[in-house]
């Protein structure tokens, strides 16, 4: 397994091996699926759309529909106007969505297709039926990463759709960033428990975690309703959960409609959940109910019960930046020793925030953005860890180095739990805690000498 990986690090300037990121459009497609009645549209060669749909499907085990401009050489030479216009005609005639969310690809970006102009022209020519909405985000694959694409689509949602009508609403905006549907559902549950009405945007619950009913619906009941998105500009406040995938859209809404926002990390772990609930409580002027405090207490109790198994355990965390930062904080709360904190995404902000969190806990780690899993593996070979936390792409390192892996983030291609249970909130932290302790204790049970094999732990 990964036998060709040498321990010795060599400087690489041009070659990325086993990336810890992918390209922008998949993030844009995922974000668009969180709008009710939306058809994501990939403006480029049809392979992009096929790859993104396949990868999202493998992660969610759910239908993921999206259309494509199906570029061939002609479109690549003459521009994608005709393809996009024909696509719009077909999409509305055959699939009849309320909204089409177009994202670009490296192909259409290099050609320089001007999407707003094409949308305008299509509307003028009557190709977009009355009452239907078309928005777009530029998501060149050669800039940023999958999280940038998610964020760019969220910004597009705000810029195209959010309005300030002047008629105030009590609803608080919550921008969850790139989380799983199970996490979105948990955020809504927490808000309901607090008695706060929120607009969660985007919201992929009830879109990508559908019950088996024997009935297929192309546009299921989930997704943030367009009417709610439009009212986001009237909200008293936005709470944005994640520097890379939520804050930029909150900033756009501030600029467009003057809605102030709280810039928080993803609500993973104890403190991050505390901060989220505290912000939500203040924004809505409510009290945190005892039921939530009891959840918090149960999490804390589990941390204290199991503390001895976490303390000082060196861990490597890798994946998309917002999720990695959330998990980093939780591992610090558990008393673990994060050793490598890696993301493939671009951005000093990741390194700065990670350094801050580490410093708050009086420790340090090797923190890298724009890093790849090949380097992570080399580092681990040189100086090992006892646990890996990240997406499924770490399973080869886990096997090669005989280190347990807790799957978290995107993509998870080989396990089922993330589809069913959240990682956010106190309950999510309980699950993460259980996964981490099971991984460590299972490993110990499998490998320890017989005389040290314990019935009770």
């Amino acid at each position: 397994m990964l036998d060709a990986t040498p321990t010795q690090l060599e400087l690489r300037n041009a070659l990325v091996i086993n990336p810890a990121k992918t390209c922008q459009p998949i993030g844009a497609m995922y974000a668009a699926l969180g709008i009710h009645g939306c058809m994501p549209h990939s403006h480029g060669s049809q392979g992009c759309c096929a790859y993104h749909r396949s990868q999202l499907t493998r992660h969610f085990k759910e239908p993921v529909v999206a259309t494509t401009s199906s570029f061939t050489e002609g479109a690549s030479v003459f521009g994608g106007l005709a393809n996009l216009q024909q696509a719009l005609v077909n999409i509305f005639a055959i699939y009849n969505p309320d909204i089409v969310a177009i994202h670009t690809t490296c192909l259409s970006e290099v050609i320089g297709d001007d999407i707003p102009t094409i949308i305008k022209k299509s509307r003028e020519e009557g190709l977009i039926p009355e009452g239907k909405v078309v928005i777009h985000a530029n998501t060149p694959s050669f800039v940023g990463s999958n999280v940038t694409g998610f964020s760019n689509m969220c910004i597009a949602i705000v810029n195209y759709l959010a309005e300030q009508t002047g008629e105030p609403t009590e609803k608080i905006n919550v921008f969850p960033g790139w989380l799983d549907p199970s996490d979105m559902r948990e955020i809504k549950r927490l808000a309901t428990e607090l008695g706060v009405v929120i607009t969660l945007c985007p919201d992929t619950s009830d879109v990508l975690d559908l019950p088996q009913t024997g009935i297929y619906e192309m546009y299921p009941r989930g997704g943030t309703p367009l009417a709610d998105i439009r009212r986001m500009g009237d909200a008293p406040r936005t709470i944005a959960l994640g520097k890379f995938t939520a804050h930029p859209a909150a900033e756009a809404l501030l600029e467009k409609c003057g809605v102030p926002y709280n810039a928080l990390d993803a609500p993973i772990g104890l403190a991050n959940t505390d901060l989220f609930l505290d912000a939500l409580r203040k924004a809505a002027g409510v009290e945190v109910p005892s039921s939530i405090e009891a959840e918090r207490g149960r999490l804390l109790d589990a941390i204290s019960d199991m503390g001895q198994y976490f303390y000082g355990v060196p861990v490597a965390i890798y994946g998309d930046p917002d999720v990695v930062l959330g998990i980093l904080r939780f591992t610090l709360e558990l008393g673990m020793e994060p050793k490598y904190v890696f993301t493939g995404a671009t951005g000093k902000a990741f390194e700065t925030r990670a350094a801050q969190l580490l410093e708050e806990h009086s420790t340090s780690a090797l923190v890298k953005s724009q890093a790849d899993l090949f380097e992570l593996h080399q580092r681990i070979k040189g100086d090992p860890v006892q646990l890996l936390i990240g997406n499924s792409h770490g399973k080869h390192i886990a096997r090669a180095e005989n280190i347990p892996l807790v799957r978290a983030g995107f993509p998870i291609l080989d396990r089922v739990g993330h589809r069913l249970f959240p990682m956010v909130g106190y309950r999510g932290a309980m699950r993460l805690l259980e996964q981490i302790s099971n991984a460590l204790l299972d490993f110990q049970d499998r490998t320890c000498p017989e005389e040290k094999f314990e019935l009770v732990q």
């Binding site: 990336p19 077909n90 055959i94």
Partner: protein
């Protein structure tokens, strides 16, 4: 072909399913489509006639805005044909996505001998950034090749171009040529930009050309064996190639190279020494079969190891080609043992599943081949279609001279191949060949899918989401074979879907043991109780007594 001589799969007619005729279903699929789309789709949805396969439009552009199964040229080249070779280092030149998505997502299993590298576990990309798009990416590619060589010391590096590379005009071939000279290893590039062609199919062709130009024939070290063949178009999904190889070995036949399933660079560069090429997936590799015949004189035949009967027939066909008595006897023994293994399971399956209906929408050969396995369980294929095949894969190679070459096909290079002045050697004398042909043995031929499907079965090329949904709602087949993007749509509608690209991480399904695996897997899926639980008891009116 007359009705009496039709192969067993195509006997009978699909007149109605759930009281809806094929033409009524076809009509339903076409209803309400925008005019242009309607014109195009109506040529791609055809009622079959096995005796005289009607013309179907295939290998044409997917209409923008249609939810299609298809992928791109890069996926066909890097992902399908080249991707499975474990000791070549595969380097994608482009933004990160293309390399990332093709990283271990196709299920080409490999067993790498100890000490040998398995580069399939590594995704290598130049991860192009905006600067490289603006100022060109050739330098970065050259540097990436050097870095890859320094770390891994591979015997060969293959470079794959993605969409922007073609547009900005990076000359990957000259970069590769320079690297080849500098590093002293084989380095070659594929101009497989995603936008070329209309589907993965263009990528297969480009990959065939590259393998032929840069690998086949490089090593003349003799391969000593009386009966040596290559298997072309077998990708070892779920271990199929291993089953086939084991079977052939039992017969006494040596496989030099399987293109491309668990195959090494060294096997490929010696593959020109084979006596015969046998073609599994006609669509993806017929170019290679033709080129090897022209250059080296290796004849090719179409075979199929999916289905027990098809396996037996294919083994006999190969043995007949060699005409060796002992070989033919051994083949009969192997076949008899294989059939003895499958027959009781077939009987059991037929008793349970006869009369059930399947629909298959996949690939460039699988939608055809898997009909054999289903038929052996008593399951009838009522509709089928390919994702990226051409007319010859539907109607048979006899239509090749009549296929109109459009602008998209013209983009893909056709190599000019001449007989090798030294190494061209006809493997079979014209007399022997004529004799075999007179006895009904066909060389360089493929009859296509339609000749083996029932009359009026619906043949649908590049099926769209809407058509698939309409088909399920109307005909509700008992099982559908498709891919990952369709699987959960189909299953949400209460119909089990077998992924015939990844096998749902099962398999092997080829050869005799594979056939048994397949019957059992389909039996499991058809026997699943999960859909019986969809309606909760409180909605069934079966009231619980309190």
């Amino acid at each position: 072909m007359t009705a009496e001589t039709l192969p067993p799969l195509s006997q009978g007619e699909v007149s109605e399913v759930r009281n809806v005729s094929p033409s009524a279903l076809r009509q339903k699929m076409l209803e309400g489509l925008p005019a242009k789309t309607l014109r195009k789709r109506s040529k791609q949805i055809i009622e079959n006639d096995p005796e005289k396969p009607p013309e179907i439009a295939a290998n044409t552009r997917t209409i923008p805005g249609i939810i299609t199964q298809r992928g791109c040229t890069y996926a066909g080249c890097k992902g399908v044909v080249m991707g499975p070779i474990p000791d070549i280092l595969h380097l994608t030149h482009g933004p990160v996505g293309c390399g990332y998505y093709s990283w271990l997502t196709r299920r080409n299993l490999v067993k790498v001998p100890p000490g040998q590298p398995n580069f399939l576990q590594y995704c290598m990309t130049t991860d192009m950034q905006e600067d490289h798009i603006v100022f060109g990416g050739e330098k970065r590619l050259a540097e990436a090749i050097r870095e890859a060589y320094r770390i891994f010391k591979p015997k060969a590096i293959a470079v794959y171009a993605t969409c922007p590379v073609g547009l900005i005009g990076d000359d990957i071939h000259s970069v590769c040529k320079q690297a080849k000279e500098e590093l002293g290893i084989n380095v070659f590039g594929f101009s497989c930009e995603g936008y070329k062609g209309v589907s993965q199919s263009a990528g297969h062709h480009i990959a065939n050309n590259g393998v032929f130009k840069h690998m086949v024939g490089l090593d003349d070290t003799p391969v000593e064996h009386p009966f040596k063949i290559n298997i072309l178009g077998e990708y070892n999904i779920g271990g199929d190639a291993w089953e086939i190889d084991a079977l052939l070995r039992q017969c006494g036949i040596k496989v030099i190279a399987t293109l491309s399933g668990d195959v090494t660079y060294d096997q490929i560069i010696r593959s020109h020494q084979a006596d015969l090429n046998v073609v599994m997936c006609h669509r993806s590799i017929n170019y290679m079969a033709d080129m090897m015949e022209k250059k080296f004189g290796i004849p090719w035949i179409k075979i199929n190891f999916l289905g027990a009967e098809a396996t037996a027939k294919s083994l006999r066909k190969i043995a007949t080609f060699f005409g060796d008595k002992a070989l033919m006897e051994r083949t009969e023994e192997v076949t008899a043992a294989g059939m003895a293994l499958v027959r009781p399971v077939q009987a059991e399956m037929k008793a349970k599943h006869s009369g059930k209906k399947a629909a298959l929408f996949v690939g460039g050969s699988r939608a055809h081949h898997y009909q054999h396995l289903f038929a052996e369980m008593g399951i009838e294929t009522i509709s089928a279609g390919y994702e990226f095949a051409h007319r010859d894969d539907y109607e048979g190679r006899r239509v090749l001279p009549n296929i109109k070459i459009d602008a998209d096909s013209r983009n893909i290079e056709e190599l000019e191949v001449e007989p090798d002045p030294v190494r061209f050697r006809p493997r079979i004398s014209p007399e022997a060949r004529a004799k075999l042909e007179a006895a009904g043995f066909s060389f360089s031929d493929y009859q296509g899918m339609m000749a083996e499907m029932k009359k009026r079965a619906l043949v649908i090329d590049d099926i769209s989401h809407y058509e698939l949904e309409t088909l399920i709602k109307t005909w509700k087949p008992d099982i559908i074979g498709s891919g990952i993007k369709d699987k959960f749509i189909i299953e949400k509608m209460g119909v089990p879907c077998k992924q015939l690209h990844s096998y749902d991480y099962g398999g092997p399904y080829a050869a005799f043991t594979g056939a048994v695996n397949f019957y059992q897997e389909i039996d499991r899926m058809l026997s699943s109780k999960v859909w019986n639980y969809v309606v909760p008891p409180w909605k069934k009116g079966t009231e619980t007594q309190l």
